[in-house]
Symmetry: C2
Subunit: 164 residues, 2 copies
């Protein structure tokens, strides 16, 4: 025989293992892409309200948790304090939120939605819900819950391991 099995095998198994061939790698890349597309679509949709994703996140969180401090909010959104210091004054000037000092701790500013802010938040959440529904309707509820499960485990693991 000119080419026996021992000759051929190494050529196959020696082929470099590229990251993009790993199932976990591929899986995560898909997640990243989905997120990116999602954010772009969401950004386009809420542009009709003249806000962007970061403002949406702020509105939703203040709608849900009134009286948060800037630090609390930054932690919830996983961004830096300085980020809040840039965005919140804008939104205050625009009449969407108010910042009131706390009497017990004069370092902190507590955040509240104004009437306009609350109304805008509701409109924005309606849009957001519609986009998410449109997106996730390609999956069963069972799949959605499985995805949520995986993501929560994974986030917890990473946060525990690598601090914030």
């Amino acid at each position: 025989m000119i080419g026996n099995k021992e000759d051929a095998r190494p050529l196959m198994t020696a082929t470099r293992q590229f990251p993009w061939d790993h199932p976990r790698f591929k899986s995560w890349i898909a997640v990243g892409r989905a997120c990116q597309v999602m954010n772009q679509v969401l950004a386009r949709e809420i542009a009709t309200l003249d806000i962007k994703p970061p403002h949406l996140d702020i509105l939703v969180n203040l709608y849900r948790f009134e009286g948060l401090t800037q630090q609390d909010l930054a932690r919830k959104l996983l961004v830096g304090r300085s980020n809040m210091s840039m965005l919140l004054p804008q939104m205050e000037k625009r009449g969407l939120i108010t910042r009131r000092g706390d009497d017990n701790d004069r370092r902190v500013l507590r955040l509240y939605l104004t009437e306009d802010g609350r109304a805008l938040a509701e409109k924005a959440m309606e849009i957001q819900t519609k986009v998410i529904d449109r997106m996730m309707e390609t999956s069963t509820l069972e799949e959605c819950m499985s995805v949520a499960n995986v993501m929560e485990r994974l986030t917890a693991a990473l946060l525990l391991r690598d601090g914030r």
Copy 2:
């Protein structure tokens, strides 16, 4: 009877349905958070190579698909052309890539990794793979593949529906 069944029911069903109570909404929020944490951890890890996530994406894609044009690359990464026009000259100055004009179409610039770029890409991909593995090891391979499946369907649906 003072309170019959018809009285009680409305009080239950009339409670406002908040977006964050919808399984699909919650699921998606979990995905977004996971992505955010992941990118932050990845950014910290590859900072040792003095690059940031966007540079990593570029390196990996050029490693895999040599001779892409700037437009091709931008489309793959789902970013604007102008973004590439800002980042690529930096990377060229740094000696990681070369940009050569195409003789058949003198508008386009084709992109190639240099030796340094290729070496850096390999180091970066190693780090990226390690981070992803660490993150996804909280899930079974089966779950990973299910997640990938959901994400791909969802991305396709959104891209088809809302253009790029």
